[in-house]
């Protein structure tokens, strides 16, 4: 069986696009071949910065002949219908067969498609692939109309079998396929012909090209670690940088250099980020001191001076880069040691969002909320407020201006330099976290308070200005902020009522950056975080303040919870997504969301976990069926009779043993469930609920609810009502599937 080799040789393909391009090339070509009737044993795609290569092994040489029969219109059908059939089949009337049919005689077309030779199919599939290749960004060049990621120079397309190799005839936009390619741009630029995939890879290697990116990665890592080891150092692992660098070179040559002593005092993250982002250098660490003392650069060429000139040049560029970093660091330290006042002032003139004010205004709001959250997470309110006020100061530092990805981390260094408490420094570093579904959740109480306040301020702010995420659009990353709130609360077992915090922060947004009677407002909002906007204490404060009649009080007094409800629903939606990823059933979440206290996310999840565990038991699963049966009968009767059977059932009207046993079981269960629910011991409550399964099932088997005796019937309906009440006190079982 023949093997197929394709190489698309172009100008330099961006490193970040190569992995997907390999997958796309393999998928598009093999799908195309298979659709056209060929089969193959194995296909692999490879890439360098200048070429995309596909090797297909064990391809069939021909597609099989296909015979297709199609039934057409009756021979008596109108001419129009017959003409239509001829057009559709591409045949003439005398090529059609007439055959007897149930309803008479009909035309049949018999279409014989002969097998096609592989080269013909390959040429078609490859041209279609090239013309429709899904590059993230593509371009035209010269006077042509073809689009590719960068100018495409040549196509190698070779079919080989025992008899030899043949070029697949193919021309795309003036580029004719051949059996030749080029080696390394500088080391082996001459073109050469190849006769098979093995010949191709071997000749490429002689021409200073390692075709396989995995092999280049391995070579780089091997040489880098060896060079570092020989100097008593170690390379800092950086898999994504390794992949990127391997996508920038065809012939990797590892060179190691030392960082000038003048820069060794910079924080390791600064050295690493500067070298990585600007120069694509690996960091090299001294295992004894833990400091980053060297770098690895990967050149794409060998030189007569063994890379001395290249290393010298790179070292010079690095020196200029690190001089900038050192300049930033030293200037920043001066500002930090002076208390960061310069940065905090500066944040007044930085707009966060034109409808949400400046960064300084945002920080004031976050600090107020962090202070209120502090007691709920076990943090000192003063410390939380101070941390929130300083956590974003580093946004004005020169270092973060240069490397935005160091925000927070630099804040930690500068807070330490300013002699601030360690909890404040850590909050600066950690308050942006968590940033996704899997990264670490802060646990230090001050950090938790600031992180929660930061995210809630963002959510409430964008809700207040009606910039909610819609569909796939979430330009302010509000879904991520909501997930952050959820993970902070759950990860730290925090008990708080999210709707109160939301109410309060929405009011802070609505009362603007310079509210009148700030102290009074603060007092009202702080009270509301503990007792709710509609709590007695809060209302009393508002009523008392109303005698002073400040206009600003009106929105506080008439606070409308609609926005908070909408945001709470959004948080619940995100919680469902989060819990689903952790294999919590969606109907279980719904059953718990329908219960009171659903603004306490920790409680909500505890309830859901207990319910899911109970449903996993046989009793639990069957109880739900029993409950639903009871509930359905009761609901129908209530609708029919127009009454609610909540008078309480009396055991003296019980007629069967099973009925009496159910009374006893309900008494026992109630006795356990009530105190368990009061202490939020959902597991005990639900286990106890599950014990009702047997008595309920027995009751239904032995007893007819709708008996002639109306007294007995009503008593039984009232008994069903007890079942409903007890079960619904644990979770809304009506929301469960099945």
């Amino acid at each position: 069986m023949p093997d197929l080799l394709i190489e698309l040789f172009s100008e330099e393909i961006p490193a970040r696009m190569q992995a997907r391009a390999r997958d796309d090339l393999r998928r598009m070509v093999t799908d195309g071949l298979v659709t056209a009737g060929l089969t193959y044993a194995h296909a692999a795609a490879l890439s360098t910065p200048r070429r995309l290569t596909l090797a297909v092994e064990g391809l069939t040489a021909h597609s099989a002949a296909v015979r297709e029969e199609r039934k057409g219109p009756a021979t008596t059908a109108p001419q129009q219908a017959i003409d239509g059939f001829l057009r559709a089949t591409g045949l003439t009337i005398d090529q059609l067969e007439k055959r007897a049919d149930k309803k008479g005689e009909a035309y049949f077309a018999v279409i014989e498609r002969p097998g096609r030779a592989a080269p013909e199919i390959i040429a078609e599939v490859l041209e279609a692939t090239i013309r429709t290749f899904p590059w993230p960004k593509s371009m035209r060049w010269g006077a042509g109309s073809l689009k590719w990621v960068r100018p495409l120079h040549s196509i190698l397309c070779l079919l080989t079998d025992e008899a030899g190799a043949e070029v697949v005839p193919l021309t795309v936009d003036g580029i004719t396929a051949s059996n030749t390619t080029h080696g390394h741009r500088f080391l082996s630029p001459a073109p050469f012909a190849v006769s098979s995939f093995d010949d191709y890879t071997a000749k490429l290697k002689r021409a200073h090209v390692i075709l396989d990116s995995a092999e280049r990665e391995a070579a780089i890592w091997h040489d880098a670690t060896t060079a570092a080891f020989a100097a008593g150092l170690e390379v800092v692992a950086d898999p994504s940088l390794l992949t990127e660098v391997a996508g920038l070179v065809e012939w990797p040559v590892v060179l190691m250099g030392r960082i000038d002593a003048a820069f060794l005092d910079l924080p390791p993250e600064v050295l690493q980020t500067s070298m990585r982002e600007h120069q694509k250098f690996f960091s090299v660490k001294n295992p004894k001191s833990g400091r980053i003392e060297g770098f690895i650069t990967v050149a794409n060429t060998e030189t007569a001076d063994n890379g001395a000139t290249i290393l010298h040049g790179n070292q010079k560029v690095l020196r200029a880069r690190l001089s900038d970093a050192k300049f930033f660091w030293e200037n920043d330290l001066r500002v930090a040691r002076a208390g960061m006042g310069e940065w905090l002032d500066g944040l007044k003139s930085v707009t966060f969002h034109n409808k949400l004010g400046s960064q300084a205004e945002r920080i004031t709001r976050i600090a107020a909320l962090a202070r209120e959250i502090a007691p709920m997470v076990g943090a000192d309110p003063d410390m939380a407020e101070q941390a929130a006020k300083l956590a974003k100061a580093d946004l004005r530092s020169a270092m973060v201006g240069e490397f935005p990805e160091l925000q927070g981390l630099m804040g930690m260094y500068y807070a330490r330099a300013a002699g601030l408490p360690e909890a404040v420094a850590l909050a600066a570093r950690d308050h942006y976290s968590p940033l996704g579904p899997t990264d670490t959740v802060p646990t230090e109480p001050v950090s938790v308070a600031v992180a929660l306040a930061d995210k809630l301020d963002t959510l409430t702010g964008f809700w207040a200005i009606d910039e909610k995420p819609t569909g796939s659009k979430d330009p302010f990353a509000l879904r991520r902020a909501a997930l952050g709130v959820i993970r902070l609360v759950l990860g730290n077992d925090v008990r708080l009522s999210i709707d109160r915090l939301v109410d309060v922060q929405i009011l802070r947004h609505q009362s603007g950056p310079n509210p009148a009677a700030l102290d009074l407002l603060t007092q009202i909002l702080s009270t509301a975080t503990q007792h709710g906007m509609f709590g007695d204490l809060t209302r009393r404060l508002i009523d008392g303040a109303e005698k002073l009649v400040p206009d600003w009080l009106v929105p506080v007094r008439d606070h409308n919870p609609d926005l908070s409800d909408s945001l709470r629903d959004f948080l619940h939606e995100r919680l469902k997504v989060f819990l689903k990823d952790q294999n919590t059933r969606h109907d279980v979440i719904d059953a718990c969301l329908a219960m009171p206290g659903n603004c306490d996310l920790t409680l909500l999840v505890k309830r859901a976990q207990a319910l899911q565990a109970t449903l996993a038991t046989e009793d639990g699963a069957n109880l739900v069926a029993g409950f639903k049966r009871a509930n359905n009968i009761l609901t129908q009767a209530e609708e029919k009779d127009g009454v609610e059977y909540s008078y309480g059932a009396d055991p003296k009207f019980a007629e069967t043993d099973e009925e009496r046993a159910l009374f006893t079981a309900l008494d026992t269960a109630e006795g356990t469930i009530k105190p368990a629910m009061a202490t939020e011991d959902f597991t005990t409550a639900m286990q106890s609920m599950a014990t009702l399964r047997a008595p309920i099932d027995a009751f239904f088997t032995a007893t007819q609810i709708n008996t002639e005796n109306q007294i007995v019937r009503r008593n039984r309906l009232n008994l069903l009502h007890r079942i409903r009440t007890i079960c619904l006190s644990v979770a809304d079982l009506t929301k469960l599937d099945g």
């Binding site: 100008e11 330099e12 961006p14 490193a15 970040r16 910065p49 960004k137 593509s138 371009m139 035209r140 060049w141 010269g142 006077a143 042509g144 990621v149 960068r150 100018p151 120079h153 500088f186 920038l248 120069q279 250098f281 650069t297 050149a299 794409n300 060429t301 030189t303 007569a304 001076d305 890379g307 000139t309 290249i310 010298h312 040049g313 790179n314 010079k316 560029v317 690095l318 200029a320 707009t351 034109n354």
Partner: protein, 315 residues
């Protein structure tokens, strides 16, 4: 191609070698445009000439001004006035990369000794309504040029595509000459009777213009000039094509484009003076882009910018 392997000795020698190299490759060696621009791309020889189907090949030095980059002549690498070397060829030849590498050899950067890399860099000019794909070119980890295949300019698709090269001359020359501070770079040959450094020529002007850009420029006047340039650009394009004096069809695309260039530079100055807020910024950029598009539209109606669909492609 004869490689020039000797190392150049001065800033001007590097410029001269680039000029003579691209002259031998068939480019028209143009002179700088006589207006303040932020980059060589603004020269009409690039922006306007990249439109339409007429073949084009030009190379030139363009003094460029970036008012916010002023550092009073103290920063080793940053200047508010510097030089770019610009090459534009339409349609981009298939060996454009090789031609470029030849220019590096010409100024003494031998790829056999250095590590030359083409690193992804997409180019976009929001003020010109232009974008293209290409690379920044690294020499031993240092960015020495930009290489772009223009896809769109002034909102018009580039057909055929122009290949554009931009060399930041000071940075490139500092690297070739082994200089750490731009002001120390020999401008003419150090063996000359009167050797001059870059600093001898530009230190004082960097100081003066830095002060001007950050504190001196009259912002009220600049704002007014911006409005004037904007209005004048539109007014010039509103003239009927038929010129009553000459009886010819004359569209004033270039004079209008001059006003667009002016508006762009005035915006840069206002930006340096810190009087444009973040939100206003986008609006100003949008206004300049609107002018650039109008000029591109007008240029496409002129002889130099038209499509030669019927000419030269006779079946």
């Amino acid at each position: 191609m004869s490689d020039v392997t000797t190392r150049p000795r001065s800033f001007q020698e590097i410029i001269l070698r680039l000029q003579s190299y691209w002259a031998t490759k068939g480019c028209a060696i143009l002179q700088p445009y006589d207006m303040e621009v932020g980059a060589g791309t603004f020269h009409p020889a690039t922006t306007l000439r990249s439109l339409g189907t007429k073949p084009w090949a030009a190379a030139y030095v363009q003094p460029s001004r970036r008012p916010t980059d002023g550092r009073y002549g103290e920063n080793p690498n940053r200047l508010q006035h510097y030089y770019q070397y610009q090459v534009i060829i339409k349609p981009s030849p298939p060996d454009m990369q090789e031609l470029y590498l030849g220019s590096l050899r010409a100024i003494g950067l031998d790829p056999a000794l250095h590590d030359i890399r083409f690193v992804e860099d997409d180019w976009e000019s929001p003020t010109l309504g232009a974008w293209g794909l290409g690379w920044e070119i690294w020499c031993d980890g240092m960015e020495v040029s930009q290489f772009t295949y223009f896809q769109q300019v002034g909102g018009h698709d580039c057909r055929p595509v122009s290949g554009e090269l931009t060399y930041g001359l000071e940075r490139l020359a500092m690297y070739v000459l082994g200089i750490d501070h731009v002001m120390d770079m020999p401008f003419n040959d150090p063996q000359s009777p009167i050797p001059l450094t870059y600093g001898d020529i530009f230190r004082q002007t960097e100081e003066e213009y830095s002060r001007h850009n950050f504190d001196g420029a009259n912002t009220d006047m600049l704002l007014q000039h911006f409005v004037n340039a904007e209005a004048e650009c539109q007014r010039l394009l509103d003239f009927p094509a038929q010129d009553p004096n000459s009886g010819k069809r004359i569209i004033m695309a270039h004079p209008a484009y001059d006003q667009c260039i002016k508006a762009s530079h005035l915006f840069n100055l206002l930006d340096a003076r810190g009087v444009i807020s973040v939100t206003e910024r986008q609006a100003y950029i949008g206004r300049v882009r609107a002018l650039a598009k109008l000029c591109a539209d007008a240029f496409r109606l002129t002889e130099a910018g038209a499509d030669l669909d019927t000419v030269g492609t006779a079946a």
